[in-house]
Amino acid sequence: MRVQRWTRTSKLFTGATLAIAVLLATAPLVFDPDVVQKLTNLLILVLLAAMWNALAGYGGLLSVGQQAFIGIGAYGTVFFAGLGVSPYPAMVLAMLVAGVISVPISFLALRLRAAQFAIGMWVIAEVISILVRLDQNLGAGTGISLIQLNQYAPNFRQAYTFWLALAFTFIFLSALFFLLRSPLGVSLQAIRDDEDAARSLGVRVAARKRLLFVLAGFGCGAAGVLIGANTLFIEPGSIFSVQWSAYMIFMVLVGGLGTFEGPIVGAILLFWIQTTFTQGGPWYLVGLGATAALFALALPRGIWGTIEERLGLRLLPVGYRVVGMKSEETTA
């Protein structure tokens, strides 16, 4: 018996992932601006799904209020740009602010469990949304344009935003990947599997959850920054909408809660649905809600979790596997 982390498939796939990231970086040079804008949307979905999964899949924290950080990211950009900071540095600043604000929020929110946490986060998002609505400088309830971005020609602006999206997605997914592979990651996966058992074995559950919460605060803030930059207009009703949570829950549940690859699969699926049913509308949301509920009830490990379970497949090596000496392929 020996313990194995890398398999041939996962070596190949990790290499392929890096190659895809490099290839994606050339997208603005190759594709039309509207394709680039769509790809930015895809990256935003991947980032959101990965962050929600970090919370729910590894920390057992089901948040219906991550739109709080999305909104802080988007409005933070407007705020810093209004102070005269150049738009793209303003975006990075706004992402950092969202992450820093998540620290004090975590001290309140992480006292709560399950439903209290879920709705508590929702109320926190509502409070931040109301505070924004009360601020005339941020456009109050009617919204505000990111006029500072008009200084760039549209195709350059879309290219810059795409590169920022690629950088954010790469940074946050890598952060999660290396976090899960570190000794900390083992304790996180232990919490995912059984919180009480992990605690009884001496895992500092509260500290680990805080780490995930703050990571998700930075990550959702980054997504909010990108949403603002990609749509150029922010309005509290939509940026603080609970619909973001619905999208995140859909992507993660369908892709595979608590797997690294699953949320990416879910994000690609939601992206495909959004581009196919462009008119959107209520039937499309009925479908999303019903699918999410069905997956929660009938296929809780999602598409990717089920594939992993059946085939013993690991594309990105975040865990370990025990390999018997006789056969290289059996997973014990």
Binding site: A56, G60, L62, V64, L108, R111, L112, R113, A114, A115, Q116, A118, I119, G120, W122, V123, I124, E126, V127, I130, L131, R133, L134, V242, S245, A246, I249, L253, P282, W283, L285, V286, L288, G289, A290, T291, A292, A293, L294, A296, L297, P300
Partner: protein
Amino acid sequence: MTILNAVVQGIFLGGFYAVLACGLSIMFGVMRIINLAHGDIAVLGAYVVFVIVQSTGMSPFVAFIVALPVMIVLGYALQLTILERSLKSGILTPLLATFGLSIVIQNLLLIRFSPDVRSLGGDAGGVTTSSWQVASGLSVSALGIVILVVAVVVFGALHLFLSRTRAGWMMRATAEDAEAAELVGINSRGVYARATALAVAIAALGGLFLAIRSVFDPLSGPTQLIFAFEAVVIGGMGRLWGTLLGGLALGVAQTVGAQINPEYSVLTGHLLFLAVLIVRYGGGRLSFRVAR
């Protein structure tokens, strides 16, 4: 006087929140789950009453009695199709499943009834317009009194049901320890289904009051859920009478906040809720007591 008036109006508003929150409190007390579609079910109830009023022209109060069996059947169906399955698999599953259900209900209502804002205030007759001047700057509306009285009656009836009837004892026993209750011959499936049916029926009553005292649209549900949940938490989760008091406290917080600045109304309610969370769960362990 204005502050006194704000407090009085808050108590009346709180009666409405207590009715909204009652079903949520029952389901949490009995099954330890929070139904994230609770607000949408209340709004669905309002639409069922709305349809009956539109097609028959009867008073919304009578229409509610007609709608009640429909809602009770819906409650049973909800338990047997979704909640029962979700109860078996961890604490997150009921939240995820009911969140999905919430989106489905909202958008089906949107498809059927369009995003138009509706109200049943005009159909409810004189009760929505009468009010009495008690003192200068202090008046009470008939509707406020009706809702508050109904709220107290609902909670009182539930108290009697839980403390005096056999079905109530079975519900308390199951809430305390479902497995032990099974051992003495109580069918927990049946108890859970009854609790959900009761919760859905009272949610519909909340929906009726929402429709009469203000306006509603297909997306009103989430706000109602948040207010209901805040009332439950402020009053202490799992404590039935606490939910009534929590509803009143939330109502008073909102009207007193509105007195300072109309835009602060909802905000002060949220802040009271967060303050209660900080004080109650400040490092201590959570303890859940069931309705007695």
